[in-house]
């Protein structure tokens, strides 16, 4: 174990997965899994036990909010950053209520993504 935080990226868009991976590579994280739909996300979550997950909402098989609930049930300590085009306040509040620690609307800038991720990492480090 390298002492890095284990990261999983979930999004049905290949391009978005690549962009998130590229931008988060500067942090002290190890990418342990990527998934393109909700069902695959839960399977890989159980297999790899990531500490941090970036999670899309609109996905095939199972939507991200259902996945979020399942992930929190499996590991209440997991830090989930929702990254979604459903950027309205009500969806953001729902995600936070379900246990997400951060909410980033698409389209996002590299700066916004990194800033939100840094806040998430700080929470993880401080044991919040």
């Amino acid at each position: 174990m390298s002492g890095k935080f284990k990261l999983m990226i979930v999004d049905d868009s290949t391009i978005i997965r690549k962009v998130i991976e590229k931008n988060l590579a500067i942090f002290n994280v190890e990418l342990v899994a990527m998934a393109a739909d909700g069902k695959e996300a839960l399977e890989k979550f159980k297999e790899t036990s990531p500490q941090i997950v970036t999670l899309d909402i609109t996905m095939p098989e199972m939507d991200g909010l259902t996945v979020l609930e399942e992930m929190i049930n499996i590991d209440p300590k997991v830090k989930v950053m929702v990254v979604t085009a459903l950027s309205d306040k009500a969806t953001g509040l729902k995600a936070i209520k379900l246990g997400a620690k951060s909410f980033v609307g698409k389209p996002f800038t590299e700066e916004k993504l990194k800033e939100s991720f840094q806040n998430l990492l700080n929470q993880l480090k401080s044991g919040e």
Binding site: D12, S13, T14, I15, I16, K18, V19, K22, T58, M59, P60, T84, A85, L86, S87, D88, K89, A90, T91, G105, K106, P107, F108, T109
Partner: protein
């Protein structure tokens, strides 16, 4: 659909391109879609359900999407899978963002992508479709909004 609702889609589209690339697209005057097809090389389609019903699609050239994907990924090596993926993601983001105006009852589907210049994209006959012409960095594309 009221014509004023089109502003939400125009704002969402302009915001997408500006946020991602730093360049705003120029939007043309919207018009009612007639019998003539409005289809370019790649099309991303989103179904709308809930309080409002219909569909939204954006259609663009491969050249435009290659340029856009290049900016997003920071590389010139962009293949057909990325281009197809991108048009779906653009459609998803533009549609998802208008929930800020229409509320959470505005439900969007996952994108369906059509590659190649189809004869046309079928939309419900009983709902008017509006065409919003877009020009981004000299590339032309069209956003079609077909909503109850």
């Amino acid at each position: 659909m009221k014509e004023t609702d089109l502003h939400f889609f125009i704002d969402s589209t302009v915001n997408y391109f500006e946020e991602i690339t730093g360049y705003k697209p120029i939007t043309g005057i919207p018009y009612l879609k007639g019998a003539e097809p409005v289809v370019l090389e790649y099309t991303g389609i989103i179904g709308i359900s809930g309080k409002r019903k219909g569909s939204i699609y954006i259609t663009a050239s491969g050249e435009m999407l290659q340029t856009l994907a290049g900016i997003i990924l920071g590389t010139k090596e962009v293949g057909s899978p990325e281009i197809k993926d991108l048009i779906g993601e653009v459609a998803n983001t533009i549609s998802g963002n208008v929930r800020q105006a229409f509320g959470t009852d505005f439900m969007i589907s996952v994108p369906v992508v059509v590659e190649g210049k189809a004869k046309d994209i079928k939309t419900p006959d009983d709902i008017q479709s509006f065409v919003i012409p877009l020009t981004w960095q000299d590339h032309k594309s069209f956003l079609i909004v077909c909503l109850e």
